[in-house]
Symmetry: C2
Subunit: 245 residues, 2 copies
DNA sequence: GCAAAAGTGTTGTCCTTACACCCATGC
DNA sequence: GCATGGGTGTAAGGACAACACTTTTGC
């Protein structure tokens, strides 16, 4: 129901006072939740904290916080990531907004899910409050609030995205072997891929730089290490159509 | 800043009163905006109203409203569509949430964009308040608020979606010719397609039902009319990989 | 009979897939 | 020397792109 203040000017029929208009809107609590994916031991991982809410005290929770007055939601998501983990300069993408009126037991809270992909070794956790640590995505079958639903949506989003854009590189170290890259795709997409065809596909994209270095500390023939050519990818983004397996 | 009420219980460190927790969150105004695409005269159209806000009185605006307390955002979007146009039972998809703190001159208002595709002839406008009518998407270069940005994002979303899912059928009459279908794809994707290859592709998908009827009132050889087999598509959705041109 | 668009097949090219052997290293 | 995974090539099949002529209708 609009308050009187926002009722249009009677002569023109137009609304003049924008501040009053916005004041007349009902207000809701708004949070961001960060789904931070990592990759280690050939498993897709997600960064979670122990919920500090009594009714969810045995459950794990995404990294979230309410949005401050002055920041965009994207800024809020970056802030949450920084405050909870100390990490900066990582990729963040808005995935979906969850608005089921019953999703939060304390009343109506809308949340916007942001997704991030990063390399676990390059981003050692400095802060581990609330038992912050990495979990295997596939081992989770219950979470606080509707966070499992949010995670599931982000996982589907990730599966689709890494086939359209080479986002997966963000999950790998700067230098990686083709075996690691293939493990990543196999783990996320939950498929087995032919090694030779996989190599052909990625070499034909021409976004891999041969570092000339080799793997170390492996007990078999070491593989070559590559870097991803982000610069070349950015230039050719327009022509880019995706990765079909 | 959390209010005292939401500070955790001091003995367990856990938050017990969820209502107080949510009360402690800052609240923001939240709206939904509907981007309703149609197709007519081989042009992609979008349904807009004249803004009733004084400073935007010469601009066009998406169909939006604030979200009510008790409804999910999706419900709000369906409500806006119903209230503004009288339309029901149309497809709606959440596309993106826009949260730039300066997007609304009256203060902070977050909006969630929903996208809908419908057939203009099957959905004659019963209500035309605020000069509601269809506009050519390509002719718009200025809109109220950040609505042009929202429209642009939804247009990109549509271009991608109709190549992955046969959503385009929602824009066509129940019975349509292959020429109409091709015009639709050419208009939305802004490309020219080979007629024979286009036919082959759609027939090979096997989602078209030959109605046995022909076009009428055309001054050339009439084309066959087809229906989209929504049922078969739903069954085979899992195997569906998309439409590559 | 002519204008306008519908309808139809083939061929070459490229991409995808399936598949097997030798090579380099650690132990 | 053997176990382990790295590295490579080829052939067949399927999808896509390019292309021209005949058919049907209205006028």
């Amino acid at each position: 129901m609009q308050k009187a203040a926002a009722i249009p000017n009677s002569s023109t029929g137009l609304i003049k006072d924008m501040d009053l208009l916005v004041e007349s809107y009902p207000k809701v609590a708004l949070t961001v939740d960060c789904v931070i994916f990592g990759f280690e031991d050939n498993k897709l991982k997600v960064l979670l904290i122990r919920s500090d809410i009594d009714m969810y005290k045995d459950e794990w929770s995404l990294l979230g916080d309410f949005a401050k007055e002055s920041e965009s939601l994207e800024e809020a998501a970056y802030r949450v990531l920084r405050q909870r983990t100390g990490m900066q300069n990582v990729y963040l993408d808005q995935v979906h907004t969850f608005s089921n009126p019953n999703r939060h037991p304390g009343g109506r809270v809308i949340t916007v899910a942001y997704c991030s992909l990063l390399n676990i070794r390059h981003h050692q956790l400095q802060i581990t409050d609330n038992e912050l640590h990495w979990h295997n995505v596939n081992d989770l079958d219950s979470m606080a609030f509707d966070h499992l639903e949010i995670l599931t949506k982000c996982y589907s989003w990730l599966q689709k995205r890494i086939q359209e854009h080479p986002l997966g590189f963000n999950l790998l170290p700067e230098k990686f072997s083709l075996r690691e890259l293939q493990n990543l795709y196999e783990a996320i997409l939950n498929v087995e891929l032919d090694r030779r065809n996989f190599r052909k596909k990625f070499f034909s994209m021409d976004f891999l730089i041969d570092t000339g270095e080799l793997e170390e500390d492996v007990k078999h023939r070491p593989g070559k290490l590559y870097q991803f050519n982000f610069e070349k990818y950015e230039k050719n983004k327009r022509k880019w159509v995706g990765i079909d397996f």
